[in-house]
Amino acid sequence: MSQKNEIPDHGLLRFLTCGSVDDGKSTLIGRLLFDTKTILADTLSAITRTSEKRGMGAVDLSLLTDGLQAEREQGITIDVAYRYFSTGTRKYIIADAPGHEQYTRNMVTAASTANLAIILIDARKGVLTQTRRHSKLASLVGIPHLIVAINKMDLADYSQETYERIKGEYLEFAAKVGIEDIRFIPLSALNGDMIVDRGDKLNWYEGPTLLEMLETAPAAHTEENVQKREKFRFPVQYVCRPQDSANPELHDYRGFMGRVEAGSIKVGDAVTVLPSGRESTVKAVQLGGVDIGEAFTEQSITLLLADEIDTSRGDMIVKSSEVPAAVKQIEATVCWMAEAPMDRARTYLIRHTTRDSKAKLAAIDHRLDVNTLEKVPAEKLAMNDIAQVTFKLAQPLFADPYLENRGTGAFIIIDESNNNTVGAGMIL
């Protein structure tokens, strides 16, 4: 696949920003968009007008990320918003989750698709309860890379000492929680120091700018996964049977359509279809009906097998040498997302990959107090609670531990009465 406007393409990076209210999250995002020239003139003049209307001197870049009417009126953000910018070499998707106490679920949602998190700290305040909570949540949701950005350095005299002190505080905490890949950076989001440009106030800092860190962070989790020698996991989304009797080639065509959730696959590989356990080999790997020979994580493809095997949505194709266990009971970390607390007596629907199963809560092991990060006993699960639980399942699932593979370790919980998504789970 050739690109005519040839520029090196370092793929796509999804990240989220977390911080307490007023740490400067919106300003930081506005800054990234502005300094990478994503903000266009008409948007800028609109926020300039608004800034003036609100009696502010300088243009308030945080207005760029203001969302919906209701929230604008309340002056707070209450949901995850997605923003985009591109540097020419890499495309970025920012998940912007608000930092309010009660919105754990929003952060979990934003983190679920992110590969990197920026944790913002106000240089005047240092490591706060919320900082710890956000970091813990980021690690629970399996975000492999953290950048701790110490912001508002302009209000702390750009002091290296302050920066080092906060860094030390954070590292002490991180060691306890077991967070590994952390990088630190001093910033002034307001003035734009060390975001895209270095500025001239932080000369003692010799590391990369924030944008340089983002440019070189591993893209989607594919690179790392290949190194981890991930097992091939292919949940079947849809089966293509054109049954075109006029066309002999299509007459017996049976394509299993889905996305490679992990690992890689090529023509000739021996595979097993679950739950039937039937074995075959890969006859073709296709995209849009065209043979591509092999495929890896995150590619949407169509698999054709050498043997006729009855397969439908909800089945999973794996390599015969790496068959996962079928489980009818799962232990998981769950974040409850609905207003109504979880009802222990009720049956819920669990959706894992393309497979659904009825599920009942068997036990709540403990709840995580997101402020103290202590495990506490719990009888029920309310909105924004995070807990370790056990579910009994009506149908077997083919699961991997979440920290090994997000795609086959994650599930959502659905309330069948109103079809709402009421919880998110990560298999232990």
Binding site: Q3, K4, N5, D9, H10, G11, L12, L40, A41, D42, T43, G67, L68, Q69, A70, R72, D79, V80, A81, Y82, R83, Y84, S86, G88, K91, T109, S112, T113, A219, T222, E223, Q237, Y238, P242, Y253, G255, M257, G258, R259, L287, G288, G289, E294, A295, E298, Q299, S300, R313, R351, H352, R406, G407, A410, F411, I412, I414, N419, N420, T421, A424
Partner: protein, 309 residues
């Protein structure tokens, strides 16, 4: 395939969109793909080919025609559907007007926002439980929080406070009878991504996307095409007495109802020139080209609550 293990950004976006379309096909019993002939929906068609060929699409295509669409686009729409051999349903706002379900405030009122009524009528007529649309989150502030699978109640309403959390790529397209899911496979694409994809895939587009000369007038700083011939033989946007008509070289960045889509001045007559212009433009897609959004910052949100795409 090469040894490369990181997908290029276009390959990643393509794979995501294919996955979303297949989820719609796998989870919904009677979906439809909204197809206008515009660039975003042409990308959707290419993605649907990648998702479902050699099979047929597991959904028909549908256009809600305001009757005030550019002839070139309408012709292109029909041609593309025919080439693909897929079924195209057209429902028109004018029929809703005849039924009395759409009442214009005055003759010249834009029919754009009335598309919602016709769309809901068509959803009911065919019993569609999901509509695949080409909306993108970068188009407008109110879309930044839109889900990829967006839930609409029986009145087609979108309630920003009552949307399902959407995690990982586990989409919940469940709905009860009468309710509806809107699915947006290219949510995460920007205008630039769309043009780059069109370039990479060599997609054909209606001619009005490329620089051409047409009569326009300037109204409140916007370029307004005038005296536009319609399929019906009528003329849309007649110029007003005293207005100076100029022949300007323009192209459209979005196409839609004539009353609310303005072109930009441009000499980009092929896709690579457009990609270049998009990379260096200083005005947003909607800011430049949507005459209807300028009234209020929140007008899109208002329309969405009323059932707009």
């Amino acid at each position: 395939m090469t040894q490369r293990n990181t997908l290029s950004h276009l390959d990643w976006l393509e794979a995501e969109a294919i996955h979303i379309m297949r989820e719609v096909a796998g989870q919904c019993s009677n979906p439809v793909l909204l197809f206008s002939g515009g660039k975003d929906s042409l990308c959707l068609l290419r993605l649907a080919e990648k998702a479902f060929r050699p099979g047929k699409f597991p959904f028909p295509l549908m256009h809600i025609d305001t009757g005030h669409n550019y002839m070139e686009v309408v012709a292109f729409r029909d041609q593309r559907a025919a080439e693909l051999g897929e079924r195209l349903i057209v429902r028109s706002v004018e029929d809703s007007m005849k039924r009395g379900t759409v009442v214009l405030k005055h003759e010249g009122e834009s029919r754009n926002k009335h598309q919602s009524v016709t769309l809901l009528e068509a959803i009911e007529e065919f019993g569609f439980d999901a509509c695949i649309g080409g909306a993108r989150r970068d188009e407008e502030k109110a879309r930044a929080k839109e889900r990829i699978f967006s839930f609409r109640d029986e009145f087609g309403q979108w309630d920003p406070k009552n949307q399902r959390p959407e995690l990982w790529s586990l989409y919940n397209a469940r709905s009860h009878k009468g309710e509806n899911i809107r699915a947006f496979p290219i949510s995460n694409w920007t205008e630039m991504d769309v043009w780059q994809y069109i370039e990479r895939e060599g997609l054909e587009l209606p001619s009005i996307y490329f620089a051409h000369t047409r009569p326009v007038v300037m109204r409140q700083g916007a370029i307004v095409p005038v005296n536009v011939p319609l399929v019906s033989g009528e003329i849309a946007n007649p110029s007003k007495a005293g207005e100076e008509i100029i022949d300007l070289q323009v192209r459209f960045r979005t196409v839609g109802d004539i009353s609310c889509t303005a072109p930009v001045e441009s000499d980009a007559d092929n896709v690579s020139k457009i990609v270049f212009e998009t990379a260096t433009t200083t005005i947003t897609e909607r800011g430049a080209t949507r005459l209807d959004d300028q009234t209020s910052d929140a007008s899109m949100e208002q329309r969405k609550k009323e059932g707009y795409f």
